[in-house]
Symmetry: C2
């Protein structure tokens, strides 16, 4: 956690620092990000940085937390009303909301994507406790879907949620091209929503309980 000193700062200064950090942490793996770059971009002296944060990891953790909350907040409206939907509709809406979030907040999404690809040892250093909440989330959804008979009972739930969880990030990479934040990600919104749909369709057909539901053809 940042020190109290940081929270006492003016909004302007705080957001300058956050902006700089997000820009750096969303443009390269953590190992390559340096305090030097961030303070230069934020235009604060080195000493101050250490007045605000324990070290870079402290800031990283904070940025991740903030961007994570932002995303959760964004997805709230989807999560709110999904209780009675078909599993596949839930998954689809989650994907689309996630992609839309990435499109509208490419810089934040980039931070998350880089984090996801980090070394496990680093991840654990940043968040020693919680890990793979995303996968657990999908697991819960799929489990419920199975209870309702919407999912083929032969499907291995942990495996399927693993696939879905990983593909979330894979597909974002696919669009981001990982060439640095986004060269007009928004402009291709149509394209990638369509593509995500195609992808999910493949998975859906693979997971659906064909003994109960009629097949789509």
């Amino acid at each position: 956690m940042p020190k109290q000193t940081f929270f006492n700062l003016t909004e302007d200064k705080k957001s300058r620092i956050l902006d700089a950090a997000i820009a750096e942490l969303g443009s390269k793996p953590f190992e390559k990000v340096s305090v030097a770059e961030i303070i230069e971009k934020a235009d604060i002296p080195r000493g101050s940085f250490y007045q605000y944060f324990e070290d870079l990891k402290d800031l990283y953790r904070y940025v991740l937390q903030v961007t994570g909350e932002e995303k959760m907040c964004y997805m709230q409206h989807v999560m709110g009303q999904m209780a009675d939907w078909d599993v596949f509709k839930i998954i689809r809406e989650l994907y689309l909301a996630g992609l839309k979030f990435a499109a509208e907040n490419p810089r934040l999404a980039a931070v998350g994507n880089y984090y996801f690809r980090e070394d496990l040892s680093l991840k654990l250093e940043i968040f020693p406790d919680m890990e793979d909440r995303g996968r657990e989330f999908f697991e819960a959804i799929l489990a419920k879907g199975r209870e309702r008979g919407e999912i083929d009972p032969d499907v291995d739930i942990p495996m399927a949620s693993f696939i879905l969880y990983n593909l979330t990030y894979d597909i974002t990479d696919y669009f981001f091209g990982k060439t640095g934040v986004s060269d007009g990600l928004l402009s291709h919104q149509e394209d990638y929503l369509k593509l995500a749909d195609k992808m999910l369709y493949i998975i859906e057909v693979g997971l659906r309980n064909r003994k109960k539901e009629p097949s789509r053809d």
Copy 2:
């Protein structure tokens, strides 16, 4: 490419160096690997290292090439006879062969897996030309499958090969746990072959041409 000096070395020394490099490059992302560690493990002086290689990247490139060839060689027998197989059998055999290779050569596989997760900018620095041969490979296979009517014509081939390609690495991570090379990967051979099968089954059902093939239920 390593310098001639390296190739003139005794087999023993060469393999000591290669072993050390593989151990390091398969245990952490490239940014964290240092010449210091490798020369210590290989027990050669610093000066010698630079007598053999331009720098760490030079060695990395070489290791990647060697391990890649090793894998290709291993998969040769699968690739040789797959011409007349059903696409899904081809994919399945490729996956199984890949996983078996990883099980039998966990250290080599680990190097490849870390490489796959590297930053695009680093990848391009290592291999400026060839990139994503793996994806192209899947693409060719799927394209052929479609020609033969085995694959749903609505399936987006680049997207599907993207999924298959990425899952190759995802699934290896899933078993390796990325906790460092392998805690008895071989002992779970049964488990993971079974699990890979389940995964492929999901994908297969999703891709198969249901207008032509009877559904499996």
